[in-house]
């Protein structure tokens, strides 16, 4: 592997957790706990290198791990620590390979940090990219599986030392079903590892640069706060997001269906949006933003709620009556918008047969976008 990366330091942790919360698009769990865990490891001398996708060799193997369970459990039953590492070791043994690097399945929420923690424990680098460019509720919703990665074998591990390996699963849906079931038995919070992927495949399907992107938007939020600037505006500028609604939360409904936090929030418009009403449909993450009854941003494009004043990303569990929010939208990466991807992460896959996915346009002109990625 060629090293042109950078080493994560303690000062990167706060911006990274803010950025990960933002790209969690309302779900993904709170990255604060993961950030603290990483800080503890770094203080004990662990080192984590972030490498660009190109740095991994075509024949090297890349591991993907993440937490699986209910977000509310994550803030109460804190991890033993090595759940994901034990799951990774289980899957390496079953597949008969060793991984040379780790990658996040989702950059949003707590699962963005889990592979970094495992990398710290294992002494491996972590790749700058992920399988979603955001957060989604299910494992099969990552580009890794949308574009055909074989889910066998996979493994799940708990705090107590139990490791369950799924030797053969016929497809992702069975894996998701089995893994969810065992995760509940494991206390609704466990470590999960999928089969190591070849470097050549990861370079083709991973959403590139998202770890650095989360880190940078986090730095922007902190910088704007320090300079007493309008944080929401700075986020819009930095990410190319569009402001779709400004309003006050008038009602939050949550219910549990099939293991997911389903629900919605109703917002009454403020300022330029006074007189308008918005509704956000939620399934762990923000799925569809309706403004005055019309869909304005539709999954897989990213819908983020920011506290108006502080720019703090507000997750769906933090939504409360009376909060004042800015609702912003960012176009999903092209890899998430192909016909194959939309079948898995488009509005129809989430139970909205009548809503067509109309892709958002970035508010950053294409010329500047290219310059930024160059």
């Amino acid at each position: 592997m060629s090293p042109r990366g950078y080493r994560l330091g303690e000062s990167d942790l706060l911006p990274l957790s803010l950025g990960a919360a933002l790209f969690g698009t309302g779900g993904g769990g709170n990255p604060y706990i993961g950030m603290l865990r990483l800080r503890e490891l770094l203080r004990k001398g662990a080192e984590v290198e972030v490498l660009p996708l190109e740095a991994v060799g075509d024949d090297d193997y890349v591991g993907s791990v993440g937490g699986i369970g209910a977000p509310v459990v994550g803030i109460e039953k804190i991890k033993q620590g090595q759940e994901c590492l034990r799951a990774l070791r289980g899957v390496e043994e079953a597949a008969g390979v060793r991984v040379s690097a780790l990658i996040s399945a989702e950059i949003g929420g707590s699962n963005s940090i889990e592979p970094v923690l495992t990398a710290a424990y294992a002494g491996l680098p972590v790749l700058d990219g992920d399988g979603m460019g955001r957060a989604f509720p299910e494992v099969q919703m990552s580009t890794f599986f949308i574009y055909g990665h074989d889910p066998s074998p996979s493994a799940i591990a708990d705090d107590k030392g139990n490791v369950v390996v799924f030797k053969t699963v016929v497809d992702m849906y069975w894996l998701e079903r089995f893994a969810r079931h065992i995760a509940v038995d494991m206390g609704a919070g466990a470590g999960f590892a999928t089969t190591p992927m070849l470097g050549s495949y990861v370079k083709k399907v991973a959403v590139p640069g998202t770890l650095t992107q989360a880190l940078e938007v986090g730095r922007t939020i902190l910088d704007a706060r320090a300079k007493r600037q309008n944080v929401v505006e700075r986020i819009l500028e930095k990410t190319g997001a569009t402001l779709f609604f400004t309003g006050k939360v008038a009602d939050v409904r949550r219910e549990l269906r099939g293991g997911f936090a389903m629900g919605g929030a109703r917002l009454k418009g403020l300022g330029g949006h006074a007189g308008s009403e918005a509704r956000i449909a939620i399934q762990n993450e923000n799925l569809v933003l309706f403004v005055d009854g019309e869909p304005a941003v539709v999954v897989p494009d990213l819908i983020m709620n920011l506290e108006l004043e502080t720019g703090e990303p507000i997750t769906t569990e933090m939504l409360r009556y009376g909060q004042q929010l800015a609702v912003i939208g960012i176009p999903a990466h092209d890899l998430m918008k192909t016909p194959a991807a939309l079948k898995v992460v488009g509005p129809k896959a989430f139970g909205y047969p009548d809503i067509e996915f109309v892709p958002l346009q970035s508010s950053i002109p294409p010329s500047r976008r290219r310059a930024r990625h160059a």
Binding site: K77, G187, A188, E309
Partner: protein
């Protein structure tokens, strides 16, 4: 009903006597290092000003920043042992992992991890191990620690582990204070545990302070019931406050915002409370402080209390004014309670904001001749700087372009001249003692937090049932039934629980019933 409201701040102790909704008298006294003599002085002078006899007082409400300040200044904190039950889970983050180092070392940083705790669905993570706890007890005894905080995973759902461990440690360590996290906080292990540890390290101080308040009331011959105000603007009786001092955190800003609302009769506004050293700015919504939506830190420690969303900065009547090459600097250093000896107008040698305001002819106190020499340019620049600081803070608390009024209260209100950032300014009568008024009008709350199965009833029925139970608790705590209002309803489904279980949290408040 005749009541006294007292607010013990870092600089001043304020007191008011109220008859129903009428303020009969209000005074300011200096806070003394021993607290008690300052409270006695304030009580005596407010009773004298009201012309009432001490036995006419039905009830006394005290708001105090003593416990917040002790944590913020890292003083008078007892060495404390934090015992967490949850192994093998939670080992990645030991207790106090997110505390500032100086606070952690101020209480000794004694953290213990033990087996126990529950899964979300009530199963044990691991069985409670009595011999392991007795080993921890021996360690605590050897270190001479007399305060213990116990936090168990999922204790808000099942308190059994904390209660059992509490009994084991109490038997092994007679006379040691024990705080259980489930008595204080909600779901969120670190934040709840943090609150429990802070409470534990304040228990000795709480006994001293509550005894001092009691002695102060005795010394003045006041025999009415005695309450402390909590961070949500409601009351707890003295015995309860002694066990749960952490619940007084942030009661100061809550009291001043509630007092400002009461005195001005305005329910929607920005409240600016200017003291001797700092200014607190918060938003008033429907007569209550707008709560912060993000985790609130106290002394650098995260908690999940519902606290008012207040922005504090270093501007007060005692703030130092320094004219330097980069322009005028105002604060954050302040002469604080020494204003009456150190400010120029009082014969001292330090230039403060009060001196500049007197020189500008905006206020009359002390000897204005002692500031006659001040340069007119400096006065103008200082006033501009103060106006700028206030405008920035008010803008920060505004949530819309809607022109809300600004209610200015506190002893440092003389710093405000005209509008703030173009907004109308209200200085209500008795503005200097708004926080004591806020304490005097504090209400009684009832709170319920329990899990309902929505297989058996609808969401509406569950919330209704919780509301009824919360009302009953408030009435039992002394609220007048017909004054009770629901102030908070929250329902959070618990993932994966059979029968669609949902956790319902309801809070109601009502006026204190005095027969």
């Amino acid at each position: 009903m005749i009541r006294i409201g007292v607010d013990v701040g870092g600089t001043n102790t304020d007191a008011v006597v109220m008859d129903g909704a009428k303020v009969l008298a209000g005074v300011k006294a200096v806070t003394t290092p021993d607290v008690m003599s300052g409270v006695v002085a304030a009580l005596k002078s407010v009773l004298a000003a009201s012309g009432l006899e001490p036995d006419a007082i039905d009830v006394v409400m005290i708001g105090t920043t003593h416990f917040t300040n002790a944590v913020v200044q890292r003083r008078d904190l007892a060495p404390t042992a934090a015992v967490r039950l949850g192994l093998p889970a939670t080992a990645s983050l030991p207790p106090m992992v997110d505390w500032p180092d100086d606070l952690k070392s101020a209480i000794g940083g004694h953290a213990f991890l033990a087996h126990g705790g529950h899964e979300f669905d009530g199963r044990e993570i691991s069985p409670l191990d009595e011999s392991e706890l007795l080993g921890i007890a021996a360690n605590i005894r050897a270190k001479g620690i007399r305060s213990v905080a116990i936090a168990s995973v999922f204790s808000p759902v099942n308190t059994e582990c904390e209660a059992k461990a509490g009994e084991i440690l109490a038997r092994a360590l007679p006379g040691v204070h024990i705080t259980l996290s489930s008595d204080i906080g909600r779901i969120g292990l670190l934040e709840r545990e943090n609150a429990a540890i802070m409470n534990a390290c304040l228990r000795d101080l709480a006994k001293l302070v509550v005894d001092a308040f009691r002695a102060a009331l005795d010394a003045c011959g006041v025999r009415g019931r005695f309450y402390l105000t909590q961070n949500d603007g409601t009351l707890m009786d003295a015995a309860y406050a002694e066990r749960f001092p952490v619940l007084t955190f942030a009661s100061g800003p809550t009291n001043s915002i509630r007092g400002a609302a009461f005195l001005s009769g305005v329910a929607e506004a920005i409240v600016v409370d200017i003291g001797g050293t700092t200014t607190d700015v918060g938003a008033l919504h429907k007569g209550f402080p707008r709560p912060a939506t993000v985790a609130v830190e106290v002394g650098g420690v995260r908690t999940n209390f519902r606290m008012p969303d207040v922005f504090s900065f270093g501007l007060g009547g005692g703030s130092l004014v320094v004219d330097g090459p980069g322009g005028v600097t105002v604060g954050p250093t302040s002469v604080g309670y020494k204003l009456i000896s150190e400010a120029l107008v009082f014969g001292g040698s330090t230039l403060t904001t009060t001196d500049v305001i007197v020189a500008a002819g905006q206020a009359f106190l002390g000897d204005h001749k002692k500031v006659a020499h001040l340069d007119a340019g400096l006065i103008a620049r200082t006033q501009a700087r103060i106006a700028d600081m206030l405008e920035t803070a008010v803008e920060r608390s505004r949530l819309s372009a809607e022109p809300l009024p600004v209610i200015v209260v506190g002893g440092g209100s003389i710093l405000v001249k005209g509008k703030i950032g173009g907004l109308e300014v209200i200085k209500p009568h008795h503005f200097a003692v708004a926080n004591a008024v806020g304490a005097a009008i504090a209400q009684v709350s009832g709170e319920i937090d329990r899990v309902y199965s929505l297989a058996a009833m609808s969401r509406t029925d569950a919330i209704h049932d919780a509301e009824e139970k919360a009302r009953a608790i408030a009435v039992a705590a002394g609220a007048r039934a017909d004054s009770i209002e629901v102030v908070d309803v929250e329902d959070v489904p618990l993932a994966y629980l059979p029968g669609n279980a949902t956790r319902v949290h309801v809070k109601v408040v009502g006026d204190l019933h005095v027969a």
